[in-house]
Assembly symmetry: C3
Homo-oligomer: 271 residues x 3
C-alpha cells in the first residue's frame, strides 16, 4: 500500500458544517496536518473560500441562512477550481434536507460526495428514510451486496460528475471509471457521533493539498479514517474502555499516522 | 436493583439542544444504545420528530428562531404521543429564558422536566437567579432539606402533569404519586459542562424505547448517569487525572453499562 | 513565581463565542474554578452580562445576529465596569471579520484583547491575511523578533486602552507600561483547535474574580494555559499518544493546578 506516500498532507479547509461534530472535524483536519476555518456568514464565505484550498459542506444542522452561505461559498470554490466536498447528513430524514441537497447539487459542482449507504441511495432515489442520520439496517454493505452499492455509487457519480464515497463496513470510492474498496474500519465507529463528518473534513484536507489527484486523495483519506478508527477500537477493547476513549484515540491515531508508520496497514483494493 | 432489567435501551431521539454540550448529548445517546438527530430548522422539525421516538428540548443557547422550532416539534410530538423532555437550562438567569420556558410549558405537554434545584424552583416561583446555569449554593439538596425539594418537585409535577426530575447530590424523580430518590453521582460531575444535558438526552433515549413506562425509564436514566459519573470520578481519583478525563470516562461507562454489569450498583429507592 | 498566589480563582463568565470550541471554553472555565454561561440572544444578553463577573467575546463563527448581541452585552458590561475580553479569531481572514472587529473596538471598551501575532498585527494594520485562523508563518515569535511584537502589542494597547496579549512560542502581555513575557507552552498546542479560545475563557474567569487587578490576572491565565499545555504535551510524548489526548490532558491539568502545585513551574518574566 505504498501508492499514497507521494500525497501531500493537509491544507487550509473552509468548513460549513453542523454544530454537533464541528469540534471533531476541526481537530481531525488539524491532526491530518491541515488547518480548518469554520465560517458560515454569507458576508464572509466568499472571502474565506478564496484563501482556502478546499470547501466542505455538511448539512447536519441545516437552516435557510446556512444553505444560502453554502451556495455562495460553493460557487466561489467552483470559480476558483477548488475541491468541494458534500456530506449529505441524514438527507432522507426530512423533505427539507432532501430539497436542500437537491438545490446544492444543482448549483454547485462537487468534487466528492460522501455519505453512508442510506444517504447515497436517497440522493439517487429521492426516498425518505426513517433511520435519522444513521444508516438503515437494510443498507449494511457486505461482500454479498457489495456490487449493488458499487452500482449505486457509480450511478450517483455519473449523474453529478463527482467522486462518490459510500462508507460502511466496506467503503466504496468511485469516479465511475475506477472503483476502490477499503476494508479498514470497525462498526463501533458508528457508536460515536462524527466519524463520517471527520472523514469529510479529512477528504477536504487531503484533496485540498493534492487537487491534481482528487480520487487518490479521497481514497487515502477514507483509508486513514478507517484505519485510525480500527486501531482505536483495538485499544479500547484491550484496555476495557468505551466510546469516550474511542473518539480520543481516533484523533490520536490520525495525528500519529506518520510517526506510527501506519501506511502499511491500509487495506485498499482496486475493484 | 433488578427492576430495570426489562427496559429497552435506546431509541431515535430528536434533540433541539444547545451548541455548548450538543456533542456530549449525541455521544451519550449513542453510548446508551440510542441514536440522536439534532435538527432545529422550522422547515424540518415536524418531519424529524415524526420519525423519532422522543423529543428533547434544551434551552441552553436559546434564540427566537429556535423557540419557534421547539414549539412546532413539541406539538408534533404531542400529537403522535411521543415523550417530550424539557431541560430548562438556566431558566432563572434571564427574563427571556423565564418567558420562553413559560411559553413552552403552555404550548407543549411535557412528559419529563429535568433541572437542578434552582431551575425547578424558578419554574415554580418565577424568580430570577444569579447563579447562571449552575445550581445556587442555597439549593444543594441534602438529607436535611430533601423533603422540601420533594415537595417542590411534586408541585411542579402537579401543575404541568409531567414527571419532574431534580438532579443534585441526591436526585429526585416524581410523578407526584410515586417518588424515587437516587443516591448515585458525585459532585465533581458539576465540574464539567453537559452532565445535565447528557442526562436529558439519556431520558429521551430510554423513555423513547419504553413509552409505556416513562417513570421507570426516567429513574433508570437518572441512576445510570449518576453511577457512570461516580465511577468515572473514582477512576480519575485513582489515576490522578482531572476533569478532561472525567468527561471521557463518563461516556466510556455509559457505553459499557451492560458489559460491566453496572445495574447492581444503582442506589435507587422509592421514597 | 509566587506573585499570583493571592489571586482569586474563577468567576461567572458570560461567553458569546464560536460554536467550534465552545465546549472546550466552558470546560476550561469550569476547570479553573469558574462557571460559564453561553448566551447570544439579543433578548437576554444584558440580563446575562449583569449577573456575570466578566464577558468574553470571540468572533470565531460570526454572524450579524451575534455581532448585535456582542455590542449590547459589551455596553452592559462597560456600564457595570466588568472586564470584557476580545478574541479576534481570524480577524484578517475576511473583510467581514475585519469590519466587525473594528465595530466592536469602536463601541466597546475592552479590558483585554487576546490574539496570535497575525491577528494582533491585523488589528493594528488592517491587513488581510491568508492563513485562516492560524498564525502566519511569518509571525512566529522568537527571541530574535520579540521586541518587534512587543512594540506592536504596546501600540495596540495604546490605541484601544486595553491589555494586549499576543500568544505564540513566547507570549507577550502588556498594558503599555508594564510588559510580561511567558515562556510556558508548546507548539503542539496549535495542533488542536481551541487553545486560544480556552485561554480567552480563562482570562475571563480569572479577571472576573480579580477585577481590581486585571493585568496580573491576565498574566496568570496566560501562564496557566501555557503550562497546562506544556505538561499535557510531555505526557502524550511519554505515553505515545496524540492530539486527542492532548486536549483531554490540558483540561485535566487546569483542574489540577492547585492539587499538583503547578504555580512554581510558571515561567513568567517582567520584560
Amino acid at each position: 500500500m505504498e501508492q499514497f506516500k507521494d500525497l501531500n498532507r493537509g491544507s487550509l479547509v473552509h468548513c460549513i458544517t453542523n454544530y454537533v461534530t464541528v469540534n471533531d472535524v476541526a481537530n481531525a483536519i488539524l491532526a491530518s496536518g491541515g488547518s480548518p476555518i469554520m465560517a458560515d456568514a454569507i458576508e464572509e464565505v466568499s472571502d474565506i473560500t478564496s484563501i482556502c484550498n478546499s470547501l466542505v459542506l455538511n448539512i447536519g444542522t441545516l437552516n435557510s441562512r446556512i444553505i444560502d452561505s453554502m451556495i455562495k461559498a460553493g460557487k466561489t470554490a467552483n470559480s476558483l477550481n477548488k475541491p468541494v466536498i458534500l456530506d449529505p447528513v441524514g438527507v432522507g430524514a426530512s423533505r427539507y434536507r432532501g430539497d436542500s441537497v437537491k438545490k446544492l447539487l444543482n448549483k454547485i459542482n462537487f468534487s466528492v460526495i460522501r455519505g453512508n449507504a442510506t444517504e447515497i441511495k436517497s440522493i439517487l432515489m429521492g426516498n425518505k428514510t426513517d433511520s435519522g442520520v444513521d444508516v438503515s439496517v437494510d443498507d449494511i454493505i457486505s461482500e454479498e451486496n457489495l456490487e449493488i452499492y458499487i452500482d449505486i455509487a457509480k450511478e450517483v457519480s455519473a449523474i453529478y460528475k463527482a467522486i462518490v464515497v459510500i462508507t460502511g463496513p466496506i467503503d466504496i470510492i468511485t469516479d465511475k471509471k475506477i472503483t476502490y474498496i477499503v476494508k479498514n474500519g470497525h462498526e463501533n465507529m458508528e457508536k460515536i457521533t462524527g466519524t463520517g463528518c471527520m472523514l469529510a473534513g479529512l477528504i477536504g484536507s487531503i484533496t485540498g493539498a493534492n487537487s491534481q489527484d482528487i480520487l487518490r486523495s479521497t481514497v487515502f483519506a477514507v483509508g486513514m479514517m478507517g484505519l485510525c478508527g480500527e486501531l482505536a477500537n483495538e485499544k479500547i477493547t484491550k484496555e476495557n474502555l468505551g466510546t469516550g476513549s474511542l473518539g480520543t484515540f481516533i484523533l490520536d491515531n490520525i495525528s500519529r499516522f506518520e510517526k506510527d508508520n501506519l501506511m502499511g496497514k491500509l487495506k485498499i483494493e482496486i475493484k
